[in-house]
Amino acid sequence: MNYYIDPLTLVTFFPVIGIVVLLFLRADQKVHARWVALITSLITFGISLAILAQFNPANPDLQMVVNIPWIQVAGWNISYFMGVDGLSILLILLTTLLTSLSILSTWTAVQDRVKEFMIFFLFLEMGMLGVFLAQDLFLFYVFWEFTLVPMYMLIGIWGGKRRIYAAIKFFLYTMAGSILMLLAILWLGIYQDTFNVPELAAMGGIPPNLQFWLFLAFGAAFAIKVPMWPLHSWLPDAHVEAPTAGSVILAGVLLKMGTYGFLRFNLQLFPIASVKLAPWVAALAVIGILYGAAVSYAQKDVKKLVAYSSVSHLGFVMLGLFALNSQGVQGGILQMINHGISTGALFLIVGMLYERRHTRDMDAFGGLWKVMPIYGALTLIVVLSSMGLPGLNGFVGEFAILLGSWGAGLPGGVLGSPWFTALAALGIILAAVYLLYMFQKLFLGPVTKEENRVLSDINWREILTLAPLIILIFWIGLYPNPFLNLMSASVDQLLNAMQTAAVAGIP
């Protein structure tokens, strides 16, 4: 008998072990529940690091593949097919890291039904890892839909005042897009006779006008998740109502499922449609960048401000991906990670404040830097990272994206005009406007409210929650090559394949 469990299955389903342990706890064993969840997520993170150690960046193909027939009835060819490559390895690490940090952030914030909270959280981690690792369309869809349930619960049970509304809206909105994707998946599975993604990509041969419809069907699901303008209406509700840890995962990882979906499925499976629709996607992305930035600036609720900033930041990611050159796509992937780090950190920061003051109204603050100097300094670093200060992580991603999209705007590029980049670059100015405004409202000026005078600076656990993200902010900013190296081979292969397919496919 062979008891060996492949690493990808292990990392995906390890959280379930924690869930089983949690089931044996009594409802009042809150501390135990937290520790069980934390340790489980840390081990999961450790497993993902082991996967990284085993990962060969020079190999552009899927690695550590496991492929077992699963549902093979009536000519359906569905398998349990997992694999990791340069497109997904960083997202795996981001997921496991952010899950651990989120659990750490709930230590005092979640007091109600801790055990159930942790169970849903670990289920969520499992679902997200599955989404990034599944290489079978059907399996992917199962994981994709699965993530909805725990997130729905996290918002609906542990959320704010309008949590039910937000949870239902989140669920239905995302579901609506997914239905179209399901139809497209079934079409592919039936007419191409396989759900195996690499096989489908290699097969090619989907006629361009069909690619177009399939692109839109997949795109609908992903665009809602990203969210691309104008499909972002669920986001502020979900973010504002979700508990801090939920917001961190929502912004940090769940949104990346959308951008990752475009990268993994739309670009790979429908290359001709991707090339043809690139200017349209880029146009929506640029509108999202500017619109998100402007709307952020006008918010009073700090969490809403950060939520809308995601619309702007994810616009950059989409612009980079659809530049369809190595700078744009690698920049886009790196920016997914960067956004997870800096926006994740921003939500953690907002959560720390909310825990102390139970309000997110920016008018209720001011002068906090004086009261909470460490908190202020760390927030400043995160804010600067988010606005793309050179030397910090955000800059590397945004610069590569814009450089790539500028190249794609030159004659012969897929975007056809450098105006996309020029307008998107305005978003960098606007990011400084809303982020510095936020920092000023919270931290600068005199302390005007009595209750702010007595706030305690952040404690060691909170510093520990932020520290890994701060380290990554500097690391990626100063020396991003280790991260870029992980993805370059896979990205190059993807772009070459698209090039070939697009040249072959256009008559």
Partner: protein, 705 residues
């Protein structure tokens, strides 16, 4: 022995260049980690030592360059590698970068030392001694970022320093972030500086995109080598790159139209104004154009624009300086104006003249700001002393309680109270106005000579600016130092301690003698920079131009004396309500008001850019995104529509059709049942009969089939 080694073994010493960044980084890290447990003195001297060590390294590099003038590129490690994009962390050691390093670290060290004394008092006047540590951390961060800017070997690393110094500027302008107008004024000023710079950086970054897709690299040497070839293939690309870089320059070096942030930046502590907003950071734009000489030389039409932007800024800012009352605001507009001179110079291809003026300006403007700081400190001391010493029982009126120690109208006669500060201030002012033989004369004269040859329009604008410079400096000197004290604190001000005056004396010596760097007969500085920039023409000394400019300067000073030496003093005898605050006000009338209000440029920007953006943002957020898209479309149309649909389905379709059918069905069953009920009699015999009939029928069927 290090010096002799540096002379003999130059190339090895070039590898020390990362230390110019590393020392201040170490300084800031140590002060961040342990500053809380260190004394003020230790913090200040540690930071000063970090800056000083950077200076030592820069000196060693400079000495090595004497024997190995070709310099070196010192790559450290790869930074961003994506496809054909390949950017390094790498340092460029040549005469141009080392000149900047010497200025930054040299002036920087002096200002660090000065700050040890200045900030000791400042943090107490402002009521938060805890911020002393933070100040020096930010200052060291600034030195590190500035060093990255000037020592980079490629445009992108330069950009790291470029935005990094902008960050330090933001942090230090808003250093007293809980002070200023409504308690938030300083923070707002910092934000304004950051955003104005970001607008400039928008231009810079677009220039970088074009550069990459045309040149394929960001490295200086590679770009400059390819430039002529590219210029013949894609001339428009070079035009676009240089113009977009100019946008960056207008942000960082406070030129028209982005200069508006610099006057507000005076909200920062005075050493910050001296170091960042006068001597070093704001000259980064001049450095950038000089560094990119190989590109600008290819596009004369852009050079012309650069020169005119510079000259126009020089004149425009000089007019505003005439109408200011805040001692630091005058110097701020003077800085903008002088930066205009430099930008105009490098725009005309007079790189040496521009860089020369950059160096001398660093000396005398740092000196002026620091001595102004000494004055401010003196007045603040006196004011505090009076406020907190009730035994003095001095008559304090309303004006004295809201005392502004930076308002020149509150000064006067200080030359007797603060002798050292007075003399060094005078030296700085003379150097600035360009009276021979002090530093400013030589460098400004070189710019004017070049302008006379290449760009007459710029020449006349700058000549007018030079006239105004002498006038507003004369005005300031007379208002601050001469006449009678116009406030109680001015009467009781005392000279600052040596930790403040010694750096002033050193800077004064530099301001007096700095012109020797590039005297017209030797052109030392020209030959020094030629090793970086290729052959440079050396401006011939023109007695005619020097004579004309000197005459104008003296005339302006005489005019200032008439107005502020005589008339202003005479005005003091008038009763306060009839006394104009400035003798120019009655003469110029509304024009003076315009000068005083900075030609309402800020108001203009508020009206045409900022307010519309704020309104647009609120409109998008509240009306479009929330009321229309979120509430109306999603909640009313989709959710409401769905509810309507379900209602229609449940009432009209379900009740009206399906239910009706079902009910009708039920009714007919009932009706049938009512008819059939007659057979259900309840008598056993009837049931037996029907049972019997049934049996007969079944049996009959079975038999007969």
């Amino acid at each position: 022995m290090w010096l002799s080694e540096a002379v003999s073994s130059g190339p090895q010493f070039f590898y020390l260049v990362p230390l110019v960044v590393l020392f201040p980084v170490i300084g800031l890290l140590v002060n961040t980690a342990f500053g809380g447990r260190m004394s003020e003195k230790a913090i200040g001297w540690l930071a000063s030592a970090a800056a000083g060590l950077s200076f030592v390294v820069a000196v060693l590099l400079g000495i090595s360059l004497l024997s190995y003038p070709e310099g070196a590129v010192v790559p450290i490690v790869d930074w961003i590698t994506i496809g054909e994009l390949n950017i390094n962390w790498g340092f460029q050691v040549d005469t141009l970068s080392v000149t900047m390093m010497l200025v930054v670290a040299g002036v920087g060290t002096l200002i660090h030392i000065y700050s040890i004394g200045y900030m000791h008092d400042d943090v107490r006047f402002q009521g938060d001694p805890g911020r002393y540590q933070r100040f020096f951390v930010f200052m060291n961060l600034f030195i590190a970022m500035m060093m990255i800017l000037v020592s980079a070997d490629n445009y992108l690393m330069l950009f790291v320093g470029w935005e990094g110094v902008g960050l330090c500027s933001y942090l230090l302008i808003g250093f007293w972030y809980d002070k200023g107008e409504n308690g938030i004024g300083n923070a707002v000023a910092g934000k304004k500086a950051f955003i104005a710079n970001r607008i400039g950086d928008f231009g810079f970054i677009l220039a970088a995109f074009i550069m990459f897709w045309v040149f394929g690299t960001f490295e200086f040497n590679a770009v400059f080598e390819l430039a002529p070839e590219v210029a013949s293939l894609f001339p428009a690309a070079i035009v676009a790159i240089t113009l977009l870089m100019l946008v960056g320059v207008t942000g960082k070096s406070a030129q028209i139209p982005l200069f508006v942030w610099l006057p507000d930046a005076m909200a920062g502590p005075t050493p910050v104004s001296a170091l960042i907003h006068a001597a070093t950071m704001v000259t980064a734009g001049v450095y950038l154009i000089t560094r990119s000489a190989a590109l600008y030389n290819l596009v004369p039409q852009v050079q012309n624009i650069v020169a005119l932007v510079g000259a126009a800024t020089a004149l425009f800012a000089a007019t505003i300086a005439v109408g200011q009352f805040d001692i630091k605001k005058v110097l701020a507009y003077s800085t903008i104006s002088q930066l205009g001179f430099m930008v105009a110079a490098v725009g005309m291809g007079a790189y040496v003249a521009g860089m020369f003026h950059l160096v001398t300006h660093a000396f005398f403007k740092a000196l002026l700001f620091l001595s102004a700081g000494s004055v401010i400190l003196g007045l603040e001391h006196a004011h505090h002393h009076m406020e907190h010493n009730s035994q003095l029982k001095l008559p304090m009126d309303e004006n004295d309680l809201h005392f502004d120690p930076q308002d020149m109208r509150n000064m006067g006669g200080l030359r007797n109270r603060m002798k050292i500060s007075f003399w060094v201030y005078l030296i700085g002012a003379i150097a600035l106005t360009g009276i021979p033989p002090l530093a400013g004369f030589w460098s400004k004269d070189e710019i004017l000579t070049d302008a006379a040859n290449f760009n007459p329009l710029a020449y006349w604008m700058m000549l007018a600016a030079a006239f105004l410079t002498a006038f507003y400096m004369g005005r300031q000197i007379l208002m601050v130092w001469f006449g009678k004290p116009r406030s109680l604190p001015a009467e009781h001000a005392n000279e600052s301690p040596p930790i403040i005056t010694v750096p002033l004396i050193i800077l004064a010596a530099l301001a007096a003698t700095g012109g020797a760097l590039n005297l017209p007969m030797w052109h030392t500085f020209t030959h020094w920079l030629e090793d970086s920039l290729g052959h440079l023409h050396a401006a011939e000394f023109s007695l005619q131009i020097a004579g004309l400019s000197s005459f104008l300067v003296l005339a302006a000073i005489f005019l200032a004396w008439l107005l502020y030496g005589r008339k202003y003093q005479a005005m003091q005898e008038l009763p306060p309500d009839k006394r104009p605050d400035d003798p120019l006000r009655p003469i110029l009338g509304p024009v003076f008001n315009a000068l005083n209000h900075k030609w309402w440029v800020d108001e203009l920007y508020w009206t045409i850019i900022i307010n519309p953006y704020v309104s647009l943002a609120h409109f998008l957020a509240d009306v479009v995104d929330w009321r229309f898209w979120h509430d109306w479309f999603h909640d009313t149309v989709i959710v409401g529509g769905y509810n309507k649909l379900t209602q229609v389905l449940s009432i009209q379709i379900d009740l009206g059709v399906i239910d009706a059918v079902a009910n009708k069905l039920g009714d007919s069953v009932k009706r049938a049942a009512a008819k059939w009920r007659v057979i259900e009699t309840g008598y056993v015999r009837n049931y037996a009969l029907s049972f019997f009939i049934g049996v007969v029928l079944i049996l009959g069927y079975l038999i007969l089939r």
